[in-house]
């Protein structure tokens, strides 16, 4: 039954995390280099962190990077740990976590749908949520949804005046 500090020491002992942070009670976040993250995932899974809540992706266009966040939870320590890493935006390639958690395949397909991140080793990355989408992945910051809607759809005009003007 580790508390937050023991968990961070454990991380420090086995890996060289870039940043360690105790966010709140029972919530910890650790940032890794790209190469170390998958080992950290399988390491934590063997240390009672068997619940993968989800995989999130955040787009930082100024720094030209995607930030992948893996949220794990342990039923023994009752601590939420968010493992973060940064990958370059243009190739946007990362290894898959499918071997560790088979369910990660669908979270990765979801991220591929919305951000265009390609996961090596996850073979079926075809469309999960969207249907024959030709534009750039919609959740990226440089996709402007209002301009897109202006071109593709027509808003109802209330005697000459669009309701959104």
């Amino acid at each position: 039954m580790r508390n937050e500090k023991d968990l961070l020491q454990l991380m420090n002992a086995h890996f060289e995390p870039l940043k360690l942070e105790i966010k709140r009670k029972q919530n910890v976040s650790v940032e890794f280099k790209k190469e170390e993250l998958i080992q950290a995932l399988s390491f934590l899974k063997s240390h009672s962190y068997r619940h993968l809540s989800t995989i999130s992706c955040v787009d930082w266009p100024e720094e030209g990077e995607f930030e992948l966040v893996y949220h794990l939870f342990s039923y023994d320590d009752l601590i939420n740990i968010s493992l973060k890493t940064r990958i370059k935006r243009d190739p946007g390639i990362f290894q898959t976590a499918k071997e560790i958690w088979p369910v990660a395949e669908f979270y990765e397909r979801d991220i591929h749908d919305f951000f265009g991140v390609k996961f090596k080793g996850n073979d079926n990355l075809e469309e999960l949520i969207l249907e024959n989408w030709q534009e750039i992945p919609p959740m990226r910051k440089d996709f402007d949804t209002r301009k897109f809607v202006n071109d593709k759809y027509e808003w109802r005009d209330y005697n000459g005046q669009k309701h959104t003007d």
């Binding site: 969207l130 249907e131 949804t145 809607v149 593709k152 759809y153 027509e154 808003w155 109802r156 309701h163």
Partner: protein, 177 residues
């Protein structure tokens, strides 16, 4: 679909029978579908007006489109509409079918239902209450009885207009004819 409507009294009888017994196919396209169970069950009970749920498009007369429509749903809605039999009516339900509602700037939802399907009537509200649904359906029954609900004829007459709009949003759509 040949146009074999016999004008005159026989049509009135059919209109009268049609408005007394409506099989409603509520295609729960969006979040509005949560207000239908209370309307169909004990408290508001729409079946006392002869409106009951239908399991498949073949047996349905009324297509209740409850809530916003993503492009993926619109394609299936058009297939469902075309599977239904001739005297068929579409009722848009909730502000999302009128002008996109709360998702007016969403890249994946359509903003106006009557550009793609002929809509008899809209029931406004960001999820209308069961009383509003019943009020809307009673007005629809009156429209059917007076013979004004002719959405399916409008769809036949300007088929080109509807097909263009549909293809503009969906790319190609599988056509039955």
């Amino acid at each position: 679909m040949n146009n074999n409507f016999v004008k005159g009294s026989w049509q009135e009888i059919l209109d009268w029978a049609q408005n007394k017994s409506i099989n409603m196919l509520h295609y729960c396209t969006g979040c509005g579908a949560i207000e239908l169970p209370p309307t169909m069950t004990s408290r508001y009970d729409m079946s006392r007006f002869g409106i009951g749920p239908a399991a498949t498009p073949r047996q349905a007369d009324l297509l209740l489109v409850t809530g916003y429509l993503s492009t993926k749903t619109l394609r299936r809605l058009i297939y469902t509409y075309e599977q239904m039999q001739a005297p068929k009516f579409v009722v848009g339900f909730g502000s999302c079918t009128i002008n996109g509602g709360m998702y007016w700037d969403s890249y994946n939802t359509i903003k106006q239902l009557d550009k793609y399907l002929p809509v008899e009537m809209y029931i406004a509200g960001c999820m209308p209450r069961p009383e509003a649904i019943l009020d809307g359906l009673l007005k629809l029954k009156k429209m059917i009885a007076d013979g004004e609900a002719d959405g399916y004829q409008r769809y036949q007459d300007n088929l080109e207009y509807y097909h263009q709009n549909q293809e503009a949003v969906l790319g190609e759509v599988q056509r039955t004819q």
